[in-house]
Symmetry: C2
Subunit: 187 residues, 2 copies
């Protein structure tokens, strides 16, 4: 059985450059790119997490354009991707929504650019995922990454994606795509 | 020995929605995201290919901002990524540049969302890559994909990235990241 999973892009709580906890702005292309990869790799939902009401309204407006506005006819494939997007104020709302939809409490999986003491590899996690009858919420941070509290409270921490040298600064759009390919892609 | 490779984002010749051969516009985030993944996975150069002079100038202006303008001090990691970007009018210019830099003619590798009769898997290509003392130019198309002529003239065609269902519409930014991870990522 394929594991059930959803993806959340976290705009709060994340760090800024000075390691202060902030809310980042939603970026239009994060909606589209991550919806497309989430849909391609079989995510049940793609949650955009922000507590800022104006941002939530802005995302709703963009979704509406592609779901029932002019965009839906112009590019039906984009509509199919954006149909799985939900905008919610917090990570716990996303967890609650998953539980309501699937009838079970999902495990929280976090990812980031640095290694944590309890990190496991994508291969190990894939193994784990296929064993139990679980559902999973994969959290991805914006800005300078999610807070330590989110990392500490997670069920799984995935190892960072490493390239070939010391440079390791992927965009969140790239990181989400690569993690999903590693966990769910067919080869 | 690590294989030498570069990446090119092709804005011409590509198809539009109606399968006419067109030149697409350069998108700001394509410069940044693909520079960051190219740098992370060890590409020698990231070529942005467009014959349109105004677009070339626009890219140069953006690069300058991050390389020596205000952006260079604000985000030195972005500078490091953008240092490998070159903007060139055609794919053959990119090949020539690689040959000048590396002293050998690179093999051309194309990627796309549909399967071709001579497609090989990323795993097969990785094998091939590690065997010879070659360099490679990976071509990625914008718009509705690169022309058949480009596919026909390539040395290697890589299989498309498949998700879990019928939906398979990744952004080019996602596709580039996933291919590079498959070919060059450490696990």
């Amino acid at each position: 059985m394929e594991p059930i999973f959803s993806v959340a892009l976290v705009h709060y709580p994340v760090y800024n450059k000075h390691r202060e906890v902030v809310t980042t702005a939603v970026m239009n292309l994060d909606i589209h790119d991550i919806a497309r990869s989430s849909r391609t790799f079989g995510a049940d939902r793609y949650y955009i997490v922000t507590p800022v009401e104006e941002q939530q309204k802005l995302v709703q407006k963009i979704l509406l354009h592609w779901q029932s506005g002019w965009g839906a006819a112009y590019n039906p494939k984009r509509k199919a991707a954006l149909d799985i997007v939900s905008i919610l104020p917090s990570v716990s709302d996303a967890l609650e929504d998953m539980e309501t939809r699937g009838g079970r409490k999902p495990k929280v999986v976090v990812t980031g650019a640095s290694t944590h003491s309890n990190s496991i590899s994508s291969a190990e996690f894939t193994q784990e995922m296929r064993e139990g009858n679980q559902s999973f919420l994969l959290l991805f941070g914006t800005g300078w990454g999610m807070t330590e509290e989110l990392f500490d409270s997670a069920d799984y921490v995935l190892e960072p994606i490493m390239g070939v040298g010391a440079y390791n600064h992927l965009s969140v759009r790239s990181a989400v795509s690569i993690y999903m390919d590693r966990l769910f892609g067919r080869r």
